[in-house]
Symmetry: C2
């Protein structure tokens, strides 16, 4: 039983049959499934183990994360899986749930399964999982995580995205742009403050108030709406707020609306994360920064495969490009002009 | 280098050292980590592969899901991982992302990695992944998924929880209890309607209106608040709404509040899912049904290990116990009494 029999049964070329079986190259999912079903129906089955023995590869990689909640790991994992699947590589995810014993055991298990490489992820860029000494020989890249010296890492561009968010508010004519964000011990929160300050400084403006640190929650945004919009004289109040995440932005908008403050007329808002269940459901829907987490996973996976293939990959931290997603919380170009 | 050397280095008994190394039995994480670090420091390393060869087990299981978003799979995975970790078993998760070719390849990869068993999960109870013929010999349980004839499945108790939600609203004196829910083609939505109807019938009440199907979104709840609270005469309007998920409940509460309708004074609300980022942030915070997803994962994993151990496990579908989480949207006992 050879690949020629499979090609004949599936009525495709031998090259296509081979690519479908080996998971290499791009083709329609229907074609890939049809070839594999034909292979199964005639009793042919690719021996991945044998293929691995010849090529000294298992065609699997591990994704180890301690992001139990999954808000960040899941899009990263989805982008990674798509890119790996296109190249015939399977991804196994294991969560260490902030449990040191589970962390150790997980890395050991990944090694025992002979994964070709590891993607190590976290839920914040200033913390990282530590590989036990015994598995240090596995090729590894880091995502949404601290990146050890000499290692290869992929993180969102917090400074750049925060600067772009603030520049967007400047571009629609706002001049008193406040910043409400998460806990100061998160490096991401400090980076976002840095980007906000840089954009204001470049425009020759000063911040209407220091960055307001707190929790990554709606409650923080709600509370700050009460504080910023009721205490100062109206002409001292912010005419825009750049929020450190979408939950804070939603809480602020709900609080402002309850106070009768118009969004975006009186105050324009930009959020951060583009977490759709919040950003699309806010009234008005939230203009926010998308950190490109799918592409972050994809980029990390492709670099990992390069390392596995023996190619030279420069060590160091890469920052993923971001984009702004325009919804309603800064107005359309027209309402922005009237602000 | 033996387990005795490890025990001496870690200053624990040989039995404790053995349990820590083999991942069996319960002990403080600190102890387990200390023993393992001692083992590493003296160069001892448990040979899990050798252990697997003797016992014909790999001490790993696979969790295969097509819940790309992760809302349901993640708590299931967390409960499963905790229970398995306590028994020295590692969990590998792979997502098939509604991609047939990736689904086939994922099951093949799980087989090649010699997992002892599979947990197959979905994001709805009326759809399921199909195991390819080639891997049918792996012990398998189903979670949050359709359960094939003769298989073992674990699902939430949608009917029971919906009945309990409605009974809670009855217990605080409400009599015109509406139901707003997701799409009718979801079995879970139909089961929840069934539970709501059963509770009303038992109380000798009829529904104020047919169940209102729609999307699982805040927008649906918001729109139905406008419809139910503005069109009928005030004494025909519902005095309570059982919502099919927490997002619908939040949209309804926001819409009702905007209309000046008091929650819970005028209308009491029970949600469904206990998705904390929504349920705790709603104003007032949402009373809702918790489906026990962590325990669902735990129960499925323990049954799977029983099968792997050769124990007899009855085929069929189990329903996980639920609980009601009381927050503010039905009032306290006192305000409920005044309703």
């Amino acid at each position: 039983m050879t690949i020629r029999d499979v090609a004949a049964a599936a009525e495709v070329s031998v090259a296509t049959a081979s690519r479908a079986i080996n998971g290499t190259g791009r083709m329609a999912d229907e074609t890939r499934v049809r070839v594999r079903e034909a292979a199964l129906s005639i009793g042919y089955r690719p021996n991945m183990m044998a293929r691995g023995l010849v090529q000294k590869r298992s065609f699997t990689i591990g994704l180890v994360t301690n992001d139990t909640y999954g808000r960040f790991t899941l899009p990263v994992a989805a982008g990674l899986s798509q890119a790996m699947h296109d190249r015939g590589v399977s991804v196994f995810l294991a969560s260490t749930q902030d449990n040191p014993a589970l962390e150790l055991r997980t890395f050991e298990a990944m090694e025992e399964k002979c994964v070709d490489g590891l993607v190590v992820a976290n839920r914040r860029v200033d913390r990282g999982l530590t590989l036990p000494e015994t598995v240090k020989s596995i090729p590894t890249v880091y995502v949404m995580s601290a990146c050890p010296d000499g290692a290869i890492g992929f993180n969102p561009d917090d400074v750049g995205a925060a600067r772009a968010a603030t520049e967007h508010l400047l571009s629609i004519g706002r001049t008193r742009i406040a910043h409400i964000t998460g806990p100061k011990d998160f490096a991401a929160a400090r980076y976002r403050e840095e980007g906000w300050r840089a954009a204001l400084a470049e425009a020759g403006l000063s911040a209407p108030a220091p960055a307001i640190y707190g929790t990554w929650s709606e409650a923080h945004g709600w509370d700050m709406a009460q504080q910023l919009l009721t205490t100062a004289a109206p002409d001292k109040r912010p005419d825009a707020v750049f929020c450190g995440n979408d939950q804070i932005a939603r809480g602020f908008i709900d609080g402002a609306t309850r106070l009768g403050v118009g969004i975006p007329g009186d105050v324009a808002i930009v959020g951060f994360d583009n977490w759709e269940i919040f950003a699309a459901a806010t009234r008005p829907p939230l203009t926010t920064m998308d950190m490109g987490l799918l592409d972050l996973g994809r980029s990390a996976g492709l670099s990992l495969l390069d390392i596995v293939d023996g190619k030279r990959v420069e060590p160091g931290l890469r920052h993923q490009p971001y984009r702004i997603v325009i919804r309603g919380s800064c107005g359309t170009a027209k309402t922005a002009g009237t602000a």
